[in-house]
Symmetry: none
Subunit: 304 residues, 2 copies
């Protein structure tokens, strides 16, 4: 099997299910059907034979094998074992029907809250689990050593980009955020070796972000991307890929879970950077906090 189509994703520490959902969009339609079955009920999938699973997914055994390889397994038996292990580890979700699925039409607000919180918290946890500290370390290195840091993000990811920019700025790193593609491209053209360009795109398919990173990279800047999908177009133009692990469900929750996951990663990077020079970072933070003091009511403790 010299021509193994294995897509070597270095490691999937955060759990196989999470890893699979991340890869989902990059799979072929038939493989996606398999993936969805697996993600929906890993324990059940582990119990099935390959033929059985293939039938359930309305495809052939060959496709199931392809799926196994696509997600980094050697073959079906290995997948089974891993799934069984995964399923066992999984904690009982607080409310059976509430998991990952859509919110039922008749749901009352209490249910909605529980569902959202569960999914949001999960996204944060799972993102952290699958984050590769080694990659983070490299990104932190790049940021610490950067002359200038440009951060790009469109739409919802723009908030996160902006948040990141502000955080870095507050500890004295020279960071910029551009809400607009043209300005961003202009800025990217001025980057050079030693500078860092960070792109944020949940889907990984935002052409604006891809373009800008491409530009930045061609100028010699180190490019970093934060996305939910490790095999999306944007990862082609990135030196370092950081992934979130939000299994967003359609339009349902306004994409908040993915936002939270992104913010968590940003926070990790931020703290990582700040930790490199504690005294200076602390001082900078205190100074900026002081700056808004006059806009606070009651400097001391709250209310009697």
């Amino acid at each position: 099997m010299a021509k193994s189509p294995k897509i070597s994703v270095s490691h999937e520490p955060g759990g196989l299910i999470v890893h699979i959902s991340g890869l989902l969009p990059s799979l072929s339609p038939a493989e996606q059907r398999v993936a969805r079955l697996v993600v929906a009920d890993p324990a059940d999938a582990a119990r099935r034979t390959i033929t059985d699973l293939a039938t359930a997914a309305e495809t052939s055994e060959a496709t199931v094998i392809r799926f196994c390889r696509s997600v980094g397994m050697d073959g079906y038996p290995q997948l089974r074992i891993r799934l069984a292990a995964e399923a066992a580890r999984r904690v009982e979700p607080p409310d059976a029907r509430v998991v990952g699925g859509d919110i039922p039409p008749g749901a009352d607000l209490a249910q909605i809250i529980a569902t959202i919180a569960f999914n949001d918290a999960r996204a944060v946890e799972e993102t952290a689990e699958q984050l590769d500290p080694a990659v983070c370390e490299r990104v932190v290195d790049a940021i610490v050593g950067a002359g200038r840091i440009d951060i790009y993000g469109a739409g919802a990811s723009g908030f996160v980009a902006s948040d990141f920019q502000q955080k870095l700025h507050r500890i004295g790193r020279t960071a910029f955020y551009f809400p607009d593609v043209h300005t961003a491209l202009t800025s990217a053209a001025l980057l050079g070796r030693g500078d860092v360009a960070i792109g944020i795109s949940h889907t990984g398919t935002t052409s604006d972000v891809v373009e800008v990173l491409e530009q930045a990279r061609s100028r010699g800047a180190t490019t970093v991307v934060l996305t939910n999908f490790p095999r999306s177009p944007v990862t082609d133009v990135a030196d370092h890929v950081l992934t979130t692990a939000a299994r967003e469900t359609t339009y349902r929750s306004g994409a908040t879970a993915s936002r939270l996951a992104q913010l968590t990663v940003v926070d990790c990077l931020f703290v990582g950077v700040a930790a490199r020079n504690r005294p200076r970072a602390r001082k900078a933070l205190e100074a900026t906090a002081e700056a808004v003091r006059s806009h606070r009511i009651g400097s001391g403790r709250r209310r009697a």
Copy 2:
């Protein structure tokens, strides 16, 4: 095979391994060799094929199958997946996390990530737990019935305010966000009965937000506040108070936990509002998603 030696134990509550060791003395010598291997390292056994395991136990495949039946399994594959599950369960305890506390100076990135994620996820969960659905309901009512919705927030809370504005806008509610106090005050002065003013302030002491809400209230608008501190100045000017539950630790984590908590609440409100008129909300969301389609690479699946 009428002479089935099956030792039908209805189900083995204490875990499969325990069960097997209990049966060990009642097994035949060759089966005992198998059993001992299995008990010694279940995870490893799960990885082996039946032939492999048989060889390791210096016996034949047939004996391994007999062993499977002896301990109540249907066959070898079932044993394998049970073992894998068992092994996964008995690993972990997710090592004593650095709960709530500050990140120790010498921490490596992996520790930092674990700490941050833990605290972030906690903030989300705890916020949801203490959120009062009744208050949420009232706020949702107000938003749904509002002619216009103004959202205010300064600094970090501004991101959240902006996010909320965008969400509401996307489902066709008339919502505004003002990054600037003066504009906000102007707008607040134009609000009237039936309109809604929402202020977001983590500390609850941001004078800008308080002022604006005061103004809005004096014009007859319904005022809502989202804060971490239920008895802070801003709650005095609010008709409805929603609280987050982030125990932010100093400057440490760039205040991300509180941000996440706020976003979670916003998401709950958003979904609550959207749920009031599903078809319309869904249509609006689809339309807005469609609008950015041309900025996505590859309409279908990602990459080959």
